[in-house]
Subunit: 409 residues, 2 copies
């Protein structure tokens, strides 16, 4: 009986999304014995994600620190993908074709100018494009587009392919995947000892990495003060596809050459093309609790805004509509590093940037598991930042208020 | 080997959509031995159909005759459904709550007035509603709706439920379903003898009823002049659903009490509510050959028009998007009755009205199979009407020109 003779491992990663699997891979590469627990690997927020690798897109939320973290992770991406491909031979849809941020009317132009000021204050140079230059860069853009900003270093990846490759790489490196929910974290002597799974079996582990996205808060056994203040932020997203006929006529796969982002009369939309011919259009941002329904209104707004910027999308095939739940935090920046419960490491709350932040999260968390030394880059993202501010957690998530120090039961 | 010892039956019905299964049921009830062949029963045009029972909606296409046929079929519906329910105990989603046709602007009001004149010339009385009366009848209508016409006798049925019940009823009455495509119709001595199926087996039959929708023209072995001039007319359609929360708040299932049809700035849309909470929004009408792709533009237009008439649809869950192929004919009226090949009976080309016309088609075709006497109601719908007009068939369908008399090979 596994419940009587618990399986032993160095690290139990809770959650097999892009974050959990990246950590499992890196940790296993370093010789740690790793188990990843998830009833449906890759089917949380990762499954809905578009896969944009655009650090500046997140900067509006948590400013300089999160931009720096995103830029650091973007720099790691080519090597991360190259190594993943060498190990697995599997595709990930990675490409680094840049992002074109466009403005549709004069209000949008003003917003674009503000973005540029912000970005330059971060030391990033962006090319400013005229209307004509925008259309030269992306011939499918609506003629009404007024101008744009081109970030040449940005990239994109296909998250659904990426998790398949990550799972393969993690398993090749020796990590073991168990397709079960973690019901409860267990601890003894003031430190985590492992976890109990849905089938009542127990996994003994020296470290637990909590990477279960918005569901990270739902796991039992976490002492007050260690429950991460994450909430689900719903995003509806559409997948379109260019037809074979369109591609024969010379249109680029997915209609565009690079990611296009824009604000259409105050409403944000992005379009991410892939070599496969897929064009991902996202995303709504809704605070409705754990609701993953796809609504007529959500899909209508995405199609409306996408066709305003790129009228040709009306000709594309509609292949998928889905809603996912991003893990939001009170300041929408991630929770990275040790918690107040020894042995419990947080890697959650990545909100809209989980795919972008996977390499930096995996590298730093796996190093910490080996050395016990927190990475300085985590400074702005510690779990204690909400505790220190007092009631922020309670207000933001409605969960129990954290205490100064965690105590095991 | 079934190819050597052919199965014998009185009637082979090609196609297990709402038309083919209705005929099979009625024919089997009369003591005929019936086989229905279809690789995917109920998955052609029937699967996409909304199930409106609104005779006047089709009148614009083929005028008085098709309206009379539709009204005749609508009168048969309550008995047809009652009998089906008695035999099978299965639900069909039938209800007779009427249709409200609404106008959104002054052009639409003018069109509504024309519709009223046409309908009254057919001897139909419709209630004319003011804007206020429209909103009293359907509180979820947009306040901009200018007025409407209420047809109290119209109904609706759920075609996906209906085919399940029809298949059960046909089988209970003794019909046999074979899940195979018919490859070729065979004949000898100037009359049909049966058909060859995809597995190369042969079904011997005295009568063949061609009820395969737009695919009726693709079956081999039909002599020139008997190939029905049907073409696929694509329709994209959306299924929405009210949430449990919405229904608890007192909204009717599917938001509306009855079918609402309207023209929004020249674009037609209809919304069909069901007791299950489903609201069907349709439909595009596209001449693209056998293309069943769902496009961003098609879905966007349906959502745009639906929310213009009934803004609350944006809150509904999007549960299904699908494209079907209606069997259109050169005049978009059905092809009913004997062809010039003895033993071959046509029951196809029902275009947008297959669900509405199922009872009258089934009753008259099954009577003909028993008596050999064509129903007078078929007069305007004979297969020979295109032959008589000369080149109409060739122009409309691009198929080979029919000859005066069919000869078997």
């Amino acid at each position: 009986m596994s419940a009587l003779v618990p399986a032993e491992s160095d690290v139990l990663v809770i959650g097999a999304g892009v974050i959990g699997l990246s950590i499992a891979w890196r940790a296993a590469q370093q010789g740690l014995s790793v188990v990843v627990a998830d009833p449906l690997p890759g089917h949380g927020a990762t499954h809905a994600a578009a896969g944009m690798l655009t650090p500046i897109a997140e900067a509006a939320y948590a400013e300089r620190e999160i931009f720096a973290l995103g830029r650091d992770s973007l720099r790691r991406y080519p090597g991360f993908i190259e190594e993943l491909h060498q190990v697995t031979g599997l595709p990930t849809g990675f490409r680094q074709a840049g992002t074109l941020q466009v403005a549709y009317d004069s209000d949008d132009m003003a917003m674009l100018a503000e973005t540029r000021v912000l970005q330059e204050s971060f030391g990033v140079h962006l090319e400013q494009l005229t209307a004509r230059e925008c259309r030269e860069a992306e011939p499918m853009l609506d003629p009404s587009v007024r101008g744009g900003l081109l970030a040449t270093g940005d990239g994109a990846v296909d998250p659904r392919l990426l998790v398949v490759a990550l799972q393969r790489a993690a398993e090749r490196a020796g990590a073991r995947l168990t397709r079960q929910s973690v019901i409860e974290v267990t601890c003894a002597g003031g430190r985590v000892t492992g976890a109990r799974l849905a089938d009542d079996s127990v996994i003994a582990a020296s470290w637990i990495v909590l990477a279960a996205g918005w569901e990270s808060a739902a796991i039992a056994g976490l002492p007050a003060g260690t429950v991460p203040p994450v909430r689900p932020v719903k995003g509806q997203i559409i997948r379109l596809r260019t037809s074979a006929a369109a591609e024969r006529s010379g249109l680029p796969p997915g209609l565009l050459r690079r990611t296009v982002r824009g604000v259409v009369r105050g409403s944000s939309v992005y379009l991410v093309p892939r070599d496969s011919g897929e064009l991902v259009v996202g995303a709504t941002q809704e605070e409705l609790g754990p609701d993953t329904t796809v609504t007529a209104g959500g899909i209508w707004e995405l199609l409306r805004d996408a066709r305003t910027l790129v009228p040709g999308v009306t000709e594309l095939l509609l292949t998928d509509v889905v809603a996912g739940l991003r893990p939001g935090t009170p300041d929408n920046a991630p929770l990275l590093g040790p918690s107040s419960l020894p042995g419990l490491v947080l890697a959650t709350g990545h909100f809209r940037a989980g795919v972008l932040l996977a390499p930096v999260t995996a590298d730093t968390v796996s190093a910490y598991l080996r050395t016990g030394i927190p990475d300085p880059i985590w400074q702005a993202f510690g779990a204690d930042r909400f505790t220190a501010r007092g009631s922020g957690l309670r207000e933001a998530s409605g969960r129990r208020e954290p205490q100064e120090a965690a105590t095991c039961r």
